[in-house]
């Protein structure tokens, strides 16, 4: 049941909490916005991933079971 981390880029305000809690999968770009590892979250990081999702002040970080989210055409 591999979940993948996704950021809603409109909601994200670049707090950076996610990268602090989950540096294994999330880094920040030079403007402070998260760059998220597109691969499924490995089981050993499952708990940390859920913590990062819960800690996002903008509620912009999600764990998704689906494949790619549809991007606007």
């Amino acid at each position: 049941m591999a979940d993948t981390l996704k950021v809603n880029p409109i909601d994200c305000t670049g707090h950076g909490v996610c990268a602090e809690l989950l540096p294994e999968l999330i880094s920040l770009d030079e403007w402070g916005y998260p760059i998220v590892d597109p691969r499924p979250v490995p089981p050993v990081l499952d708990r940390e991933a859920r913590r990062a999702v819960a800690a996002c002040p903008a509620l912009a970080l999600k764990l998704m079971r689906t494949e790619e989210p549809a991007r606007s055409a």
Binding site: P9, C12, R71, S72, A73
Partner: protein, 430 residues
């Protein structure tokens, strides 16, 4: 300013053999002329029936994304929602594109036929026409004539799009029709599942609907007599040749690009697919055809059909920098990477297009391009980066010239069209 010329009629022997032109009569056609040429709107009598023909035809969206039309139709058709919406998208927010405007002016009834037929096919209860300009006399007259003769299954509401690059993007369109600003939102859900006011919403470009109206009459085999197996049919293109005139040409998909654009010594480079498109080098690109299948080798696509042959007396780097400045200003400013990255990319490109530049500027632009890719709610950062990266490659020797304070251009007059006034406030989104 450029003038738009309809070059789709009458056409040469090869075009006639392929049944072209299909969409554009030589002069504007009123309802009487339309009915004499095509007969009555071929309603199917119930929901769903037409979708099989559309699937068999291979019709894809002509607004730029080339998404299979039947798939969006099928999603809306199978929804059991009490309210379903259809939108004919004529926002044509790409500043270099003029084909939808011309189509709506000279064949409005074909678009409106397509809107009604698609509405019937998906069971739409509400129909909209979303326009870049205010409604023209032709559109208003066509709607009035159709209403007075009871030809339309459902009424059509017209909404004007704000003059912004992203205004025609599906989610921005839905926001605008809902009374809000024309700003994109993050998907999913797709608008075909949950769009205007939560209703399943079918959004199709106006040219797509005109093709659909013809497929409903003549069938998928007729449609496939033009184009390639993988990309059937014809498409409207907006063509700029070195003479500076803007022409709308209905072309068979798969047509050699050199038959649409000039390729001789008067041509510096081609731009295919508009301002989210790709610069192509001459003469390497000269054998390419108007088909995504061949263009993808150059990471290009036909987009909404904007084709440019940049004259040899202009500087492509300067042109690209000017357009990139526009694209950066057109960011909706909602997503951090796009909001921060695009203005930096534009400033970097402007520096490269100036006289002399800092050693690290080109590498900076390339790094920022990588940083914004895939990180927007809509495709604006990705499209902008495609345009910028191809410019860096194709105009590489021009960058070296500018580094030494030189420029190959002998004509400084801007070539690629941009809207007159840049947006200045958030109010411009409505």
């Amino acid at each position: 300013m450029t003038t738009t010329v309809n070059e789709s009629a009458p056409g040469g022997a090869a075009r006639q053999a392929a049944g072209l032109p299909r969409l554009l009569p030589a002069s504007p056609e009123d309802l009487r002329g339309h009915l004499a040429r095509y007969g009555a709107t071929p309603y199917r009598g119930r929901t769903g029936v037409l979708i099989g023909d559309i699937e068999a035809s291979g019709l894809t969206g002509r607004g730029g994304a080339a998404f299979p039309v039947y798939r969006k139709m099928a999603i809306v058709a199978r929804s059991r929602a009490g309210r379903k919406v259809i939108v004919a998208n004529g926002s044509e927010s790409e500043p270099a594109s003029r084909k939808d405007e011309l189509l709506l002016r000279i064949a409005p009834n074909l678009v409106l036929d397509g809107l009604q037929l698609a509405a019937e096919a998906v069971g739409a209860t509400e129909a909209h026409l979303y326009l870049h300009y205010g409604p023209t006399g032709e559109i208003l007259r066509a709607l009035a004539e159709r209403a007075s003769r009871g030809l339309d299954g459902i009424g059509v509401t017209i909404t004007q799009a704000p003059p912004r690059f992203l205004a025609g993007q599906e989610t921005a369109l839905v926001n605008r029709l809902g009374g809000g600003p024309a700003l994109p939102t993050f998907q999913p859900p797709r608008v075909s599942e949950r769009g205007l006011g939560g209703a399943p919403t079918l959004v199709q470009n106006v040219e797509t609907l005109a093709h659909l109206a013809l497929i409903a009459r003549y069938g998928p085999r007729w449609f496939r007599a033009a184009g390639t197996d993988a990309e059937p049919g014809s498409m409207l293109t907006t063509v700029y040749r070195p003479d500076g005139k803007c022409r709308v040409v209905e072309a068979e998909i798969g047509a050699p690009l050199r038959t649409l654009l000039s390729s001789g010594a008067e041509t510096a480079a081609w731009l295919v697919g508009g301002y989210h498109g790709t610069w192509l080098p001459m003469p390497q690109a000269v054998g390419l055809t108007l088909a995504n299948d061949t263009l993808k080798r150059f990471e290009a696509s036909v987009g909404a059909g904007v084709l440019v042959a940049l004259p040899a007396d202009r500087c492509g780097l300067t042109e690209a920098a000017r357009v990139t400045g526009y694209l950066a200003a057109e960011s909706a400013g909602q997503c951090g990477p796009c909001l921060n990255g695009l203005p930096r990319i534009a400033a970097g490109l402007a520096e490269l297009a100036g006289s002399g530049h800092r050693r690290q500027t080109r590498a900076d632009v390339e790094r920022w391009a990588g940083l914004v890719t895939g990180r927007g709610a809509c495709n604006h950062p990705d499209g902008t980066v495609r345009f910028v990266r191809s410019a860096l490659t194709v105009f590489s020797s021009e960058i070296s010239l500018h580094a030494r304070g030189q420029c190959s251009a002998t004509n400084r007059k801007p070539f690629l069209p941009l809207p007159d006034g840049m947006p200045t406030s958030e109010d411009d989104w409505t």
